[in-house]
């Protein structure tokens, strides 16, 4: 597997995801500068990391979505290549049209960093094969603008097509849209593209891979990706 992590000015979790990839899969990703126009030859997985690209100025993800490298990322996605956007990466994917909808300010208007419980809604995506369908996992969140929203039509379509991959749930494993930590529509934490090759999610699987630091529920996500790419 060859992985590339895109570095925008203001990205700050590129190291977290790079070390998680290495920790779980043994692969050291290349770090690709936003102003470049090409991905390294043979790139299988592109990661848009968390952070505050361009300071979240204008609108989070909006400026990064227009960075030079994003044409190459879009082309990679169009070829069916895997793209993983975490947190700010999810915001960039929405802003660049690779995923529908948008992330707005948390309903309680505050940044929130805590462990979140998520339900893995499907296990047949390249990102979730190593999870059981319906599994409840713990990833931390750390965001001020993770409140997913889309128009009613689009939400209906996403649900109809089963494109919600991760959903926030309460301690009892059930979703409660009125209590969800950031106000996300339908408690959506992560969605995939139609072809299942682009995943955007707000929580941070990369921060839950090392038993020394806490739970390790994030490992299976990276194992899934590596498994798919090794078979390919």
């Amino acid at each position: 597997m060859k992985a590339a992590v895109i570095l925008f000015p203001g990205s700050n979790r590129e190291g977290d995801v790079a070390s998680a990839l290495k920790h779980v899969t043994g692969v050291t990703p290349s770090i690709v500068w936003h102003a470049d126009t090409e991905l390294p030859a043979g790139t299988d997985l592109v990661v848009l990391p968390g952070g505050f690209s361009y300071g979240d100025y204008l609108r989070c993800g909006a400026i990064a979505a227009r960075a030079a490298i994003m044409d190459a990322v879009r082309a990679h996605a169009a070829r069916g290549g895997l793209v993983l956007g975490i947190c700010n990466g999810f915001q960039i994917l929405c802003e660049s049209g690779l995923l529908p909808g948008v992330l707005v300010r948390n309903a309680r208007l505050r940044f929130v960093c805590r462990e979140a419980l998520l339900k893995v809604e499907r296990s047949d995506t390249p990102f979730t094969r190593r999870y059981a369908k319906g599994a409840i996992v713990r990833y931390p969140v750390a965001h001020g603008e993770g409140n997913y929203t889309a128009d009613t039509e689009m939400l209906k379509r996403l649900e109809g097509e089963g494109r919600v991959v991760f959903r926030y749930v309460m301690a009892d494993g059930k979703r409660d849209d009125t209590q969800v930590l950031n106000g996300a529509a339908n408690s959506i934490a992560g969605i995939v593209s139609e072809k299942l090759n682009v995943l955007g999610l707000m929580p941070h699987p990369e921060n839950h891979v090392d038993p020394l630091l806490g739970p390790t529920d994030g490992r299976a996500l990276f194992e899934s990706i590596a498994g798919v790419l090794e078979r390919a």
């Binding site: 979790r13 977290d16 505050f52 300071g55 505050r110 960093c113 020394l212």
Partner: protein, 737 residues
């Protein structure tokens, strides 16, 4: 010098915060009347914030050396050797006055300033902490300040990308008009690649890097060196505006150009901006500096030399670049989209010369600007000693369970989750112990080494007895590092006091410093950096003396750190250290009886060391399952915190006859820890305690879901936790609806 600048009048001098005798000193020093720009430069260099003129004399008494200290006070941050060729670089600094006037920007730029201090030395920041003090929760401004300060700290640190892993938050009416924001940053560097402010070499380019200079923050340091009266809010324009995005870029660009070998000397532009950074670089290197302000990157047109020299615009650096490296350095900065401009040169004449539009705006002796700053031996009086409180003399109508419930639900003891969940405490993937424990623990590199980090002080103690209070602040930081299994290495102190021109306030400062010095010496816990914030007064009323101690220790193996949560039922609970039932200045006395009086608990430094070394040896030998230091609130609060963190209850033994039960459960005797021990290890622990000459007593056992105190109604742990978690969200929620 030009005639368009204002004339120097006594009023103008006073507006610059300079006393008549200080102005006289300027006249003597330069032999003529200063220009307007020069007056501004002197006011920037000679205010309390930059010159430490009231505290310098007494700071000299602090122990600052140890074999592992690479750099003590006097640089941007302290540096200690943590083994394996690595160094920890850290400092704590206040941003009190700006955070009261404009909490979001004031607190945010406080974080930005301390992060810059750390990466200026070549270290990548790996953790941030903060110690916050707010006024009475009932004060109409408190909620606004809490919301703004917390959002400001989060807004800056989260975006910059440093985990905010710990700190402390307290409330007291004495901070009503002067909340405290003490921000600490810790960075990691190679021990042989530390960068300093000292310039070397004549004729080398002085380079300006980072964001452009605007009119924000002019006279910020002068404002921070005065008391507040009515209308403090009008000082908003003196508060800087932070841009964490620019700071993140500045960090990456600086580390890259350091790595490329371009940097001879570096100084960030913090308080007093370009003036202070340029003077320090020159003065430390015995060189003059000549600046050409026409080259300065400015955000707005028409700025005067005076404004450029005094601006405190954020996210700026000054560097002396190695010969022939200008182009390489410039390319790195342009890559990160930052400004890069050669704004001057080093000279051999020891003058600080500022040119603007063909005129010389300032020409001053560079060494004297710092060295000849006023130094005051201000009169001080010792704080009168208070009597020890006899528990028998207290009329107590509360019950023990009732008092415990009130304490853990009170502002100082209530869970601060609402606050630390607004800080990204996980970024960088190294947070081993998250907020809420005795110390935060962060992994160093790939491990197994880690750093234990904490902030501590008990202002009530410092007010009642500055010497004992100063000792206690250091001892508690040392104890908190010990309680996770760390070896305490060094500390940074952030001294927050009222107006030093009042002898009683000066007495608090002197007393606390002596206490800090005594404890630092006895515990081999030297002071390597620090900051002094005086004039924390409003309408003549000062804050409680608050010398915040930031402690750093090393953990050899992060897999062996201890945490405070009970681990299992059926384990024995021991208290290490002597319990005499000291209630003077205790939280019980203050919160339950509404009395802040009596002598605070004395700190026996030898005992601290003995007991702490013993606890650390138990953790290293993996003989204890949970460890918590006993601090304010006493034994029962410590046990309750261990229970709440785990959901596991405890059944406690009755105190021995002859001790007042309230004093036993809530007294604040020092040098104590609560530990739990699995049944198979009990004999071994007791044997080792005896061998070490350490007092140890069994006080109960873990198990169930309740806290059982003999003869009292049982308390359900979940209910206690709900109470502990409830106060802050409810308090803040009421203000946000």
């Amino acid at each position: 010098m030009t005639s368009t600048e204002p004339k120097i009048t006594p009023e103008l001098i006073a507006e610059h915060g300079l006393k008549p005798d200080e102005y006289q000193r300027i006249l003597t020093l330069i032999g003529r009347e200063p220009s307007f720009t020069e007056l501004g430069i002197f006011s920037a260099m000679w205010n309390e914030h930059c010159s430490y003129k009231s505290s310098r004399l007494h700071l000299r008494g602090l122990p600052t050396k140890a074999p592992w200290v690479i750099q003590g006070p006097g640089e941007n941050a302290g540096v200690i050797d943590i083994g394996d060729g690595q160094a920890a670089v850290f400092k704590m600094e206040s941003h009190n006055h700006p955070s009261y006037i404009e909490p979001y920007q004031g607190a945010g730029t406080g974080v930005g300033g301390i992060l810059r201090d750390v990466f200026t030395m070549g270290a990548r920041p790996i953790a941030a902490l903060n110690a916050l003090r707010f006024g009475d929760p009932k004060h109409p401004r408190t909620r606004h300040l809490v919301a703004g300060v917390v959002a400001g700290i989060g807004g800056y640190g989260n975006s910059f990308g440093v985990p905010t892993v710990g700190g402390l938050v307290g409330f007291h009416t004495r901070y009503d008009g002067n909340n405290l924001v003490n921000a600490m940053a810790v960075g990691l560097a190679d021990a042989d690649k530390i960068f300093y402010a000292k310039a070397t070499g004549v004729g080398l380019p002085v380079v300006y890097l980072g964001s452009k200079t605007g009119r924000d923050g002019i006279h910020g340091a002068t404002m921070a060196s005065a008391e507040f009266g009515e209308g403090a809010e009008e000082k908003r324009p003196t508060v800087q505006v932070g841009d964490p995005f620019a700071e993140k870029l500045l960090l990456e660009a600086c580390l890259e150009i350091m790595e490329a070998g371009c940097v001879v000397a570096i100084q960030d532009m913090g308080a007093a901006g370009l003036t202070c950074s340029a003077v320090e670089m020159g003065a430390k290197g015995d060189l003059g500096i000549e600046l050409d302000l026409d080259k300065l990157p400015c955000r707005e047109a028409g700025m005067s030399a005076y404004e450029m020299m005094l601006s405190e615009s954020q996210e700026r650096m000054l560097m002396v670049i190695a010969p022939g490296k200008e182009e390489q350095a410039e390319a790195i900065f342009l890559k990160w989209g930052l400004d890069f401009a050669i704004v001057g040169y080093t000279t051999d004449n020891l003058r600080f010369v500022v040119k603007h539009k063909g005129e010389i705006k300032a020409d001053l002796p560079i060494k004297e600007l710092g060295d000849e700053a006023p130094l005051y031996d201000r009169p001080w009086v010792e704080t009168p000693k208070q009597q020890r409180i006899d528990p028998a003399s207290l009329e107590i109508s509360a019950t023990i369970p009732g008092a415990l419930e009130r304490l853990i639900g009170s502002p100082d003891f209530a869970s601060k989750r609402w606050i630390w969940e607004q800080y990204d405490h996980l970024i960088l993937n190294n947070t081993v112990q998250r907020p809420g424990g005795d110390s935060a623990v962060v992994r160093v590199g790939e491990g197994p080494k880690g750093l234990a980090l904490t902030c501590d002080v008990t202002p009530r103690y410092c007010e009642a007895d500055p010497f004992e209070g100063g000792k206690q602040a250091v001892a508690e930081a040392w104890r908190n590092i010990t309680a996770v299994g760390g070896k305490p290495l060094a500390l940074t102190d952030n001294l927050n006091f009222g107006n030093p021109e009042k002898p009683e306030i000066m007495g608090q400062l002197v007393g606390c410093l002596r206490g800090i010095g005594a404890a630092a010496l006895a515990l081999d816990f030297p002071v390597v950096s620090g900051n002094v914030s005086l004039y924390n007064e409003t309408n003549g009323r000062g804050i409680l003396p608050t010398p915040t101690i930031g402690g750093v220790g090393v953990v050899d193996d992060i897999e062996k750190t201890a945490t405070l949560a009970f681990k299992a039922g059926g384990e024995a609970i021991y208290v290490i250290g002597e319990t005499t039932g000291w209630l003077g200045q205790s939280a019980f006395l203050s919160e339950i009886l509404d009395r802040e009086e009596g002598a605070p608990p004395p700190v026996d430094l030898e005992l601290e060391r003995k007991n702490g070394d013993f606890v650390r040896s138990l953790i290293e030998a993996e003989l204890v399952t949970a460890v918590h230091d006993v601090s304010d609130g006493g034994l029962l609060v410590a046990i309750t915190e261990m229970a709440m963190a785990s959901g596991i209850g405890a059944s406690l033994l009755a105190p021995e006859d002859g001790i007042n039960p309230f004093a036993y459960w809530f007294g604040e005797d020092q040098a104590r820890y609560v530990v739990t021990v699995a049944s198979g290890e009990k004999a071994q622990v007791l044997r080792q305690a005896e061998a070490a000459g350490v007092t140890i007593a069994k006080i109960g056992g873990t198990g169930g879901d309740r806290l059982n105190i003999p003869g009292e109604r049982p308390l359900v742990i979940d209910t206690l936790r709900e109470r502990n978690e409830a106060w802050l969200p409810i308090y803040m929620g009421a203000g946000l609806m």
